[in-house]
């Protein structure tokens, strides 16, 4: 019963053999195949097609609650399960005549805190109270009734669990009699409460993040430990159930994709509270204990770091990171708090930031979020340089100026499109004029603002409505601009017009020039000259977004991402001036382009941190792969800690480090069966390596592995 590790240090054993076996079996597909046997509930309602959307939706949610299979694993200490396989496909798993009806919601973290402290009954009362308002429109009343229906459906589902566990699981039965409808009174109930809500929302097809689990649960555990009603070992087993249940979608044989069927949902740990005090508590360390032991990557964990992060925590993170799997990533909380408050979030909400289920930062339980990605490299190649038919730039400044102007147009286009999708025809205020959107009452219930405004998540209900343009291809755009600057304008190795010809011809018969272009020191090598272009590019992108910001209560903050789109984008890309051929898979997120990061990880972090990343409000991720050998022994721990401290000090935003050797990944490609539990960080999510398609696997292998 081995859980994969990249490290030469063994994974510790703290959990009972029974729990470990359960984890092992879950991670090897024991329950995933079962979920696929019942992918969805069939709606048998006659005249279903004649109903309006919310009526359909309410029926679907009720039917799921009534009919979804109930699963209670023999070993589990908490109950609730997302047992319908179609939920993996981003749809509500209730179909009519075999056809899907509505898609579901992702990229948000819902509010668990209210249910924990006050119970679901509180929501029921709140909706009822809101319905008293005589000024509500018909549409608002209908929406609020749909929220009531969600609570009723959850009650049906909850009763089914109570019946199921009554005679077989007395502890769970006792807890479920209390939560989630009434407030949680202790740690065990609190874990059950969060899990029950999560699994119900997930069962209905949505992808809610978890948020700051240690902040939510820390006080409960502290009290129980002080009272002597719970031991730390028992608490670890309870919490482990939470994580193991998150692997219940792993199949025995997963068809290759961008990652297998996981719950995927992010957990945020540590960081400071309003008083600036570190919040890391025993729950923080228990979570890290569990993933250190089992290597479960299904709930990607991000730890909030700052300059005063305790040594104990930093050491623990480093130890977990060394095992690989991309289980733990880090935020630089100092920078993010600055970014959020400067952007205009009230300090209290900013302080509580988590993410959307990937790594884009948001205020949990209060935020509608979408991001709109675009490829800045294709923009340069196809628009500014007109497919390399342009030949009239006489200086680098004129080229860069033209590019920024195209960038501004691109951002404006994004604004116009989201404005039209979500709002009215007027470009100014998508969230003041709201269109009727796909029903989404389940998540709306848990987003603050929706009940108050009597508007759904998709209809401007949440307190914050965020549409974030995300720039992708940053490293390669910067490198291309730099290569043109060097080769054409500085060193005059070739004229602008000739260079365009070379690139249009995909470098054909120009090996020498191409080798020279390849040999320059690009983004990620701590080269001031190229990093200056990077700094300008991100700042100009920020300015372009700011023009459209906060119109009609809509946030339009900048961010950087590719989320694996570098694969899809490859075919749309021409040869690049940095020496790549058309169609190559290039840089991810804010990371350097593959093969250009010749100066080591510290140089990469230095380059990355030179931009004012606080202007990238929703995030700018850096992905690194470090060879396990570089991190072996005590020296490895010290080095990793130093890397993390430096990352914070220099002003990074988000860092994910994968500790795995390219050789191991190649072995896994050859012998997938032996590497069932080997996970890797893809982007904002983790995936079991063997469940990725060949293209995605090759992309991961291609990310330069930093050795010593």
């Amino acid at each position: 019963m081995e859980f994969f590790t990249s490290s030469d240090s063994k994974r510790p054993i703290r959990l009972s053999a029974k729990i470990r076996r359960w984890a092992y079996e879950s991670m090897h597909g024991k329950y995933g195949d079962e979920a696929m046997k019942t992918p969805y509930i069939e709606i048998e309602e006659e005249n279903f097609n004649k109903l309006d959307d919310l009526d359909k939706y309410d029926i679907m949610i009720t039917e799921i609650a009534k009919k979804a299979p109930i699963r209670v694993c023999e070993e589990e200490l908490i109950s609730g399960s997302a047992t319908l396989g179609a939920a993996i496909s981003h749809v509500i798993p209730a179909y009519h005549k075999g056809e899907k009806i509505f898609s579901s919601v992702s990229h948000l973290t819902i509010d668990y805190e209210t249910a924990l402290r006050f119970g679901m009954n509180f929501y029921e009362q709140k909706v009822a109270d809101r319905l008293e308002d005589k000024g509500l429109s018909k549409r608002q009343i209908r929406f609020l009734k749909s929220l009531s229906n969600v609570i009723s459906a959850m009650r049906i589902y909850h009763r089914r669990y109570l019946e199921k566990v009554k005679n077989i699981k007395p502890d769970i039965y006792r807890n479920l009699q209390q939560v989630p409808f009434q407030p949680a009174r202790n740690f065990y109930e609190a874990v059950q409460c969060v899990w029950f809500i999560f699994s119900f929302v997930r069962l209905c097809g949505n992808w809610p993040g978890i948020g700051r689990l240690d902040v939510m649960l820390g006080d409960y555990l502290k009290r129980d430990l002080e009272n002597g009603t719970l031991t730390i070992d028992r608490a670890r087993e309870i919490l482990a159930s939470f994580f193991i249940k998150g692997t219940e979608w792993i199949l025995k044989d997963t068809p290759p994709s961008s990652g297998d069927a996981q719950h995927y949902q992010n957990i945020v740990l540590a960081g400071t509270d309003k008083q600036g005090k570190e919040v890391a508590n025993e729950v923080t360390y228990l979570v890290l204990d569990i993933v250190e032991e089992l290597g479960i990557s299904d709930f990607p964990i991000t730890v909030r770091l700052h300059e005063n992060t305790p040594e104990r925590l930093l050491r623990k993170i480093s130890k977990v990171m060394r095992h690989g799997g991309g289980v733990v990533a880090v935020y630089n909380e100092t920078l993010i708090l600055k970014a959020l408050t400067a952007y205009g979030y009230p300090a209290e909400d900013a302080q509580n930031f988590a993410n959307d289920g990937c790594w884009e930062v948001q205020v949990p339980g209060k935020t509608f979020f979408i991001y709109v990605p675009f490829d800045s490299l294709a923009l340069l190649q196809k628009k500014t340089l007109d497919g390399y038919r342009k030949n009239d730039f006489s200086s680098f400044e004129s080229l860069y100026g033209a590019y920024v102007s195209d960038l501004e147009d691109q951002v404006k286009e994004i604004y116009a499109s989201v404005s039209q999708s979500f709002g009215g025809p007027q470009i100014d205020a998508p969230c003041s004029e709201w269109k009727t959107a796909t029903p989404c009452s389940v998540v709306s219930l848990f987003e603050r603002g929706c009940i108050e405004k009597a508007r759904s998540y998709y209809e401007g209900g949440p307190e914050y409505n965020v549409f974030s343009p995300h720039i992708g291809g940053v490293a390669d755009t910067v490198n291309s601009l730099y290569a043109i600057k060097k080769l054409v304008f500085d060193e005059k190795k070739i004229t602008f017009a000739e260079f365009m010809d070379v690139l249009r011809e995909n470098w054909q018969d120009n090996d020498i020039l191409r080798s020279y272009a390849n040999s320059l020191h690009y983004y990620g090598t701590d080269n001031e000259e190229v990093d200056k272009i990077y700094v300008s590019l991100l700042h100009d992108f920020f300015l372009a977004c700011r023009k459209w910001d906060k119109r009609g209560n809509c946030f339009f903050p900048a961010g950087v991402s590719t989320f694996g789109r570098e694969i899809a984008w490859a075919q749309n890309r021409l040869a690049a001036a940095e020496g790549t051929l058309g169609g190559e898979v290039l840089a991810s997120n804010t990371s350097p382009s593959p093969g250009t990061d010749t100066e080591g990880v510290t140089a990469i972090i230095k380059s990355y941190c030179k931009a004012d990343l606080s202007e990238m409000v929703t995030g700018a991720a850096l992905d690194l792969k470090i060879s396990p050998q570089a991190l072996s022994g005590e020296g490895g721990i010290t080095a990793l800690k130093a890397l993390l401290r430096g990352f914070v000090k220099l002003g990074g935003y988000f860092l994910q480090i994968d500790t795995v050797s390219a050789q191991t990944l190649r072995n896994a490609q050859q012998n997938p069966k032996q590497y069932k539990t080997l996970s890797v960080r893809v982007s904002g999510w983790n995936a079991r390596f063997i469940t990725l398609t060949r293209e995605w696997q090759d992309m991961i292998i291609g990310r330069t592995e930093q050795n010593v």
Partner: protein
């Protein structure tokens, strides 16, 4: 011998080193070494002169090297041939090679320039990390090496030095003054073998080590193990003796001979003198560590 204005002969500067002293470090590899160890995996570090690597698979037959070489050391017949004996070390060829087939090994750098590189990673050093000098043999560049260490201390950097210990005793006092930790190689305690396999006697190395220790220099002994050559009990006991005699030695770090220098010998155009049978398995290293522990020696394995 050296003029400071010419700076130091630097092979390379490597950032993010995790096993060359405490914390995260930048390692400056200086050229020149008084030893010629048969197992050396940095043969390009032995000579003080700049040299170049040649990797045939990268050569694109552009013949630029042939044009720029003042000494006709590059010839293109059936293939690219290099006459190293004609090379004056001007490095014009490597500087002009567009394909990276010719790669310059060694540049002269001034002390401020070296420290500028080292300063780049200051944010990562924290309280423990810093600069490590390696080589070659760092002391081979004598006064200039000491000036470099002195400047590094003035910059507030932690300084470590990997040394073979073979240097003029007149440097001892200043080395101790400016070096926070010596990573001190003891390649063999057997005199004959040492001379046979490294080209020099080990007497000076051991004497210098004791002298450095007397003046308060902190050391970590590093021992390469070569299977069948120095894996005998006597050698281990000798090291333990030395360790116990030292007052400021924090331990013994052991590692196996590694074969991976072989391609560099080819790229330099010199025959490889290592032997793959010298590799020591991890299990064997663990045994050796146990023997050290039994002799009350603080011992760790560096992989």
């Amino acid at each position: 011998m050296f003029n400071q204005s010419e700076g130091l002969s630097v092979l390379k500067i490597q950032r993010f080193c995790t096993h060359d002293g405490p914390g995260l470090r930048t390692t400056v590899f200086l050229k020149g070494c008084p030893l010629r160890c048969k197992w050396c995996h940095n043969p390009e570090s032995q000579s003080l002169r700049s040299e170049f690597f040649y990797t045939p698979s990268l050569c694109i037959d552009c013949r630029i090297c042939e044009k720029v070489c003042p000494n006709e050391a590059h010839e293109f017949k059936a293939k690219h041939e290099i006459k190293r004996d004609l090379c004056s070390g001007c490095m014009q060829c490597a500087k002009s090679c567009p394909a990276g087939a010719l790669e310059m090994q060694g540049v002269r750098m001034s002390i401020p320039k070296i420290l500028e590189e080292v300063e780049k990673d200051r944010a990562f050093y924290g309280k423990t990390g810093g600069l490590t000098l390696s080589g070659g043999e760092p002391t081979f560049q004598g006064e200039n090496t000491i000036l470099l260490l002195k400047s590094a201390k003035e910059h507030g950097l932690h300084t470590a030095m990997e040394t073979c210990g073979y240097f003029d005793e007149k440097f001892i006092l200043s080395l101790v003054k400016y070096t926070d930790l010596f990573l001190w190689d003891i390649k063999d305690t057997d005199k004959q073998r040492h001379r046979k396999y490294t080209g020099v006697s080990n007497r000076k190395i051991i004497e210098n080590l004791f002298a450095v220790d007397r003046f308060g220099g902190k050391t970590l002994i590093r021992c390469i193990f070569l299977n069948g050559l120095n894996t005998d009990e006597k050698h281990i006991q000798k090291i333990a003796e030395i360790y116990h005699t030292l007052k400021n030695c924090r331990g013994v770090e052991i590692f196996s001979y590694r074969q991976y220098g072989e391609s560099k010998y080819a790229a330099l155009g010199v025959p490889y003198s290592g032997n793959k049978n010298w590799s020591v398995t991890l299990d064997h290293l663990k045994d050796i560590r146990k023997r050290f522990l039994a002799l009350d020696v603080q011992c760790s394995i560096n992989r």
